[in-house]
């Protein structure tokens, strides 16, 4: 890299545009830190919209937790290396509050009980334990809790979402749950939720949909639809449908990538630049150089569009394998940007449990970066790798967010921890 004078300079470089990267940028901007964020459209498209905090602990027994905070206390004492252990419950709570406040301001209000997880219906009719749910889904949680007469709608052509399947799975204890399949207005063949959501933003489609639903209403006191109620004006779409049907309407998450992820992405991509984030989305970090003065210089993109960013510090929020923060080679697992030491099983044969569905999960799902209490990556001897480098999100080791049901909470809390760590470093 040449020492060009055209470097973009900033205090904090956030690498990654998933949930953790977005959260880190948000927290940093809220604290007047000068941030450049870079990352390709990634895992955030695959967000269900549900904000998990901690739903299962311990994973071996698959115990569902009602109160996430007591679960976190147990988790921290059982697994002291878990990223949650680097934060106090108070910090985690503040992080969630700040994050949800941003989404509320962005027109995506959430609903959460302070000390209680919420049970929501999944597209295959199982029950998932989560912490905060989008307001558009809150009605479903309430209906599930009270088992009021309820009509679930699905559509011809929509794959991976079956009202009938949901009814078969959870209808045993919910006799007044009914399912109906209808045509989505003006679309034929295979349906895609994004297209449906776009269509739902128009009043015409909503009117036609209401007309199609009405004959099936019967004695229903609430109507459940797949999560297709618009992308930008979900609250209005929801209110419109409720007015027209005269009943509460709620969304059930769909298979991923889903509209719920799009909503989050749109909220961040549109609002973060407004609060001062300089974003370089759709680009990847293609090279990094740690300079002698402790700063970093990043190369962004390739060819004629190449840019360089120089920053005092960086938050690595590149995710695990799907986000490409980690890369599994035959010889081991690599960290892709800095080539940091990765905590991983001693050899490839130990990556996976012999029993694919074993409740203990797989060791490969524990791999990642080990950190100090400022969320800075350390090597196997717990020595700092770079004093100015922080890490957040699923790239961190010693967590199995999918089985523990702590993905979003982990992303948000560790982003908070990383930004706090950066501020501590300055202080």
């Amino acid at each position: 890299m040449d020492k060009g004078a055209n470097d973009i300079t900033c205090d904090l470089m956030v690498i990654g545009s998933g949930m953790a990267g977005m959260a880190a940028s948000l927290f940093a901007a809220n604290r007047d830190i000068d941030v450049v964020q870079v990352g390709i459209t990634g895992e955030i498209n695959f967000a269900s919209g549900l904000i998990d905090l901690l739903g299962v602990h311990p994973v071996e027994t698959q115990r569902l937790r009602k109160n996430p905070w007591t679960a976190i206390a147990e988790l921290v004492s059982d697994i002291p290396t878990h990223p949650y252990a680097q934060l106090t419950p108070n910090q985690i709570e503040r992080a969630l509050d700040e994050f949800l406040a941003f989404l509320r301001d962005a027109g995506q209000p959430y609903s959460a009980h302070p000390n209680q997880n919420t049970r929501v219906i999944t597209p295959v009719g199982t029950i998932k334990t989560t912490y905060a749910v989008p307001a558009s889904m809150a009605g479903g949680a309430a209906a599930l809790a009270t088992r009021i007469p309820c009509l679930l709608i699905d559509f011809y052509g929509l794959k991976g979402y079956s009202a009938r399947q949901i009814k078969e799975n959870i209808g045993k204890n919910w006799p007044d749950l009914r399912a109906a399949r209808i045509n989505f207005p003006d679309l034929k063949g295979e349906l895609y939720t994004e297209k449906m959501a776009w269509a739902m933003e128009t009043e015409q489609t909503r009117q036609k949909l209401v007309q199609s639903i009405q004959p099936h209403l019967g004695d229903a006191q609430a109507v459940g639809l797949p999560a297709i109620l618009g992308i930008y004006r979900t609250a209005q779409v929801l209110a419109d449908l409720q007015d027209a049907l005269g009943l509460p309407v709620f969304e059930i998450p769909t298979m991923l990538p889903a509209v719920t992820g799009l909503r989050l992405r749109e909220a961040f991509e549109q609002r973060l630049p407004r609060i001062g984030i300089r974003s370089i989305y759709q680009h990847k970090v293609t090279g990094v150089e740690a300079l002698n003065d402790g700063t970093f210089r990043f190369r962004i993109g390739n060819g004629p569009a190449e840019q360089t960013v120089r920053s005092r510090a960086a938050v690595l929020a590149t995710g695990r394998f799907f986000g490409k923060g980690l890369y599994a080679q035959r010889t081991g697992i690599k960290e892709t940007v800095f080539n940091l030491p990765v905590y991983q099983p001693p050899d490839r044969t130990r990556w996976h449990h012999k029993d694919f569905l074993h409740t203990e999960g797989h060791l490969i799902n524990q791999t990642g970066l080990e950190i100090d209490n400022h969320f800075r990556p350390v090597d196997g001897n717990r020595n700092l790798v770079y004093p100015g480098l922080f890490a957040a999100g699923s790239v961190l080791a010693h967590q199995d967010w999918m089985r523990q049901k702590c993905g979003s909470g982990l992303a948000i809390a560790s982003a908070y921890g990383a930004v706090s760590g950066y501020r501590d470093l300055l202080a």
């Binding site: 390709i40 459209t41 990634g42 895992e43 498209n45 695959f46 003006d186 679309l187 034929k188 063949g189 295979e190 895609y192 939720t193 994004e194 297209k195 776009w198 991923l256 990538p257 759709q282 799907f322 490409k324």
Partner: protein, 576 residues
């Protein structure tokens, strides 16, 4: 024998003259009639030939009584007489064309029609007198020069060489044949002792050796007549006597032969073979050749690029008349048909074509305007085979309608308008896009075709994006590409309209079923907006892959021959 031969020659001349004249006249009527019959860009309520003729006549009358007549006459002067527009483009082409144009035109009036025109204007006309003798040679030399430049031009400019047609060379060859045979004929006549003897009988009316011997000597010395046995050319007193006889009997009709600077030179060169030439009556055969070639050219005129002698000046003048009277629907159709005939296939349009570089890659001549015009003519006259229509559709859609060809056309053809009309016709006939051929078969049939052709072909193609596992390893079939695709969004039933969606095509490729993807309408309807590629969470180069597939399908499946004859014509209607 001589009388019989003469009679035969005269009969052959007369018959071939009238025959060729009749062919030429009928041809002209046919070609000019076509201006009112051919339909390019017509609609169902377009006027019939009679109405078109009426419109053209009305426009002509209107022009005569309008101020625009001035600009039309000016155009006639500048563009037809002086050919200024050619000079501005390239002085060498101007030289070539002026030589050919004036050489041929003046030879026709001065020489071919000498009995009808020249003698009427100049009662003392004799073909062997100056200035006629000199001018004939000069004009012949001009035609040869022009034809020479034309041939060199067609050989030297690579693009031009590539699409020069046999008809281009045939026209030049015919002209050259007429002129060269004429020059040779004149040369053999110069040296012919038989003609000398005949002339002596006709004009001296006396075979007194006292008169004939000196004259022979004088003509052998001065006029290169090759007598056998040779006469004494060096005897001064004989020559002086001969000169006196010459003055008395011959000089009135014979200018010095040096004026025939071409044929006299040739005569000198062939003089040693005079005996052979005279014995074999080569001059007679050259005479046959000369007039037969000339009449062939006359008969060929309406059916060849010679016709531009008539059509191009008219076209230039019609253009100069402006749009006010010619822009009616009826006259528009007529102008287009006339434009087809005004083309001289000079290739200037193609030399300046904006999409000529595409022609370097895709071997389709109809990309080039000069060739597209011929194809459009074939289409208009209904002589086009389906495979040619497919080609024309491709060429026409590669054209960007930038208008450069129209600006450059030395014949003043409104090519831009012609292309638009021709595109419309193609659309009406089912060739609405350059790759309509791909719609003629199902994806399974194309896959089969692709597999079969691969086995015939040389080694398999190198691994590209669509073949490489690296392109797809990260694909999780998340449907993001499909969800953001505007082409998918524009359809209310993608499976019906597109066969498959982008993510399904990626899946085919992952499974090494590339052949099945080649005929997918999704591949062909992709607008390369790159939304899929930008949104792909895994960095799969979706749009690049689709583009590559289209190129590969073109390379492997594009119809090149009779295979399209039954398939190309109809585009299947989408099923409801």
């Amino acid at each position: 024998l001589q009388t019989e031969t003469r009679e035969f020659a005269a009969m052959l001349f007369t018959i071939s003259a009238y025959l060729s004249l009749a062919i030429c006249l009928f041809g002209l009527i046919y070609r000019i009639g076509r201006w009112f019959r051919l339909q390019i860009g017509a609609t169902s309520d377009s006027p019939n030939p009679g109405q078109r003729l009426g419109s053209a006549a009305a426009a002509g009358l209107d022009l005569i009584f309008s101020r625009r007549l001035g600009s039309v006459l000016l155009a006639l002067g500048k563009d037809v007489v002086l050919q200024q527009h050619l000079f501005r483009q390239d002085w060498r082409r101007w030289l070539m064309h002026m030589s050919l144009f004036y050489g041929v035109i003046l030879l026709v009036f001065l020489h071919a029609l000498d009995d009808q025109i020249t003698r009427a204007l100049f009662p003392d006309y004799a073909s062997t007198l100056n200035p006629y003798l000199f001018l004939r040679n000069l004009l012949g030399a001009l035609v040869l020069t022009g034809a020479g430049i034309a041939v060199i031009r067609r050989r030297a400019i690579r693009a031009l060489k590539r699409f020069s047609a046999p008809s281009d060379h045939l026209a030049l060859f015919l002209l050259a044949l007429v002129v060269v045979s004429g020059i040779l004929l004149e040369s053999t006549q110069i040296i012919s002792p038989s003609i000398f003897d005949q002339m002596v009988i006709d004009y001296l009316g006396d075979d007194d050796p006292e008169l004939v011997e000196p004259l022979k000597a004088y003509w052998a010395a001065e006029y290169a007549v090759a007598f056998s046995p040779p006469v004494r050319e060096t005897d001064a007193s004989l020559l002086a006597d001969g000169k006196n006889v010459h003055r008395e009997f011959c000089a009135e009709c014979h200018s010095p032969p040096q004026s025939a600077f071409v044929s006299y030179a040739v005569a000198r060169a062939i003089k040693p073979m005079a005996g052979f030439i005279d014995r074999q009556h080569l001059d007679l055969y050259l005479w046959y050749l000369h007039f037969l070639a000339s009449f062939a050219a006359l008969a060929y005129l309406p059916f060849s690029k010679f016709f531009h002698l008539i059509s191009t000046p008219i076209n230039l003048m019609v253009r100069a008349a402006g749009n006010t009277s010619t822009n009616t629907p009826a006259n528009r159709l007529t102008r287009r048909a006339m434009g087809l005939d005004a083309c001289t296939h000079c290739g200037v349009c193609s030399q300046h074509c904006s999409v000529k570089p595409v022609f370097q890659v895709i071997d389709n001549h109809t990309i080039l305007p000069s060739e597209k015009l011929g194809a459009a003519e074939k289409a208009a006259t209904g002589r086009q085979r389906p495979v040619e229509a497919v080609e024309l559709a491709e060429g026409s859609h590669i054209c960007t309608l930038c208008g450069r060809c129209t600006i450059w056309c030395p014949s003043g053809i409104d090519l831009q308008d012609l292309w638009q009309a021709s595109l419309k016709d193609l659309g009406c006939n089912g060739y609405s896009d350059p790759h309509s051929w791909i719609r003629t078969r199902s994806i399974a049939r194309w896959a089969e075709e692709a597999r079969q052709r691969r086995s015939d072909a040389e080694p398999p193609p190198p691994v590209r994006l669509a073949d490489s596992p690296d392109s797809f390893w990260a694909c999780v079939q998340c449907t993001t590409c499909t969800a953001v695709c505007p082409v998918v969004a524009a359809s209310d039933d993608p499976q019906r309209d597109l066969d498959m969606t982008p993510q399904q095509i990626m899946n085919l490729l992952r499974m090494q079923l590339k052949e099945l993807a080649l005929g997918c309408r999704m591949v062909w309807d992709c607008v390369t907006c790159y939304k899929c590629q930008e949104h792909c969470p895994q960095g799969v180069k979706v749009a690049d892959v689709l583009y590559e597939l289209r190129n590969e399908a073109c390379r492997r499946l594009k119809p090149t021959g009779p295979i399209m004859s039954n398939a190309a014509k109809k585009v299947p209607e989408p099923e409801e």
